[in-house]
Subunit: 200 residues, 2 copies
Amino acid sequence: MVKIIFVGASGDVGQAAFAELSQRHDVVCIGRKTGDVRADISDRSVIETMYGKVGAFDALVSAAGHVHFAPLAEQTDASLKMGLENKVMGQINLVLAGLKRLAGKGSFTLTSGVLDRDPVVAGTDAALANGALAGFVKGAAIEVPPGLRTNMVSPGLLDVSERRYGALFPGHERVPSERVERAFAKCVEGAINGQVVIVE
Amino acid sequence: MVKIIFVGASGDVGQAAFAELSQRHDVVCIGRKTGDVRADISDRSVIETMYGKVGAFDALVSAAGHVHFAPLAEQTDASLKMGLENKVMGQINLVLAGLKRLAGKGSFTLTSGVLDRDPVVAGTDAALANGALAGFVKGAAIEVPPGLRTNMVSPGLLDVSERRYGALFPGHERVPSERVERAFAKCVEGAINGQVVIVE
């Protein structure tokens, strides 16, 4: 059993990962509106405060972050930056601020999604954000201090997300939640580093 | 022969692409400090003005954009955003603003680099930016209006860049400039769409 800081447990991916990890670990949930500690990760100083409140930990898991779904013709500099500011820099700042605090051994597990490899209409901001996170994880993994690991889970549309998001993903395979659960277990409890774990 | 707006012809990749394309096409060079039209693509309104000055065109080629090289432990929210603001959103804004102006037939060709697939120390911002651009190109390509195409060239370290950047890329293969030239020709003169053309 390790102590896990879990950001974004309220979304569909987050719920699956939380259900799996909370069976075996001490999970502290961080959320904007719910959770053991309230924090909006789009604000770097709030992240620092959150880490200070939670104290020592062994792993950080993030399934947090928003992107802006809109047709390409309606996307603007500002709307595309929503994904970069929130989903991308929010999760990256969790790593940057956490590196100093996670000494010796531990892991960061971020979350992206399918749309940078299998795009859909109106999904450009998601594709941009997912690609950015994949690049970051690949680049950062060779520079994290010895004993630390950084990975990412990149799931397709979950079966439980069908009702809310299904219409945006015509023909995409729906991914059983238990497969997503296992991907997070692999990242947190395994020994991989620098990997994007694709779940399709 | 088509009319090409070429942004960033002064860098090593840009020089190679320019050398190739200018043999057969009418190339209008856009640069911060040099070029037929001066423009800093990090400012969206400057991009609009640039397009207005140049008028009708058939293809946009960009080899522009900066990232911040620094060890991961020294990277911050602000330093990582340099790549996102400049290399990523600069090139993306060239596409967004250009889509309205490039009617019927034409192409956008952006430039990334090797570091999101083969990382080096201090290259996290480059990996982040390259991954973001790859996601954008993949996502945008299925939504550009019929007849338009969006691609990206992702070269390894050019042989001509050895003196300036070689020390940052230990053991990376050096890529002959003529291979990079052909990749840009493929994107501009061919018919591919949504592809990241890897040159290694």
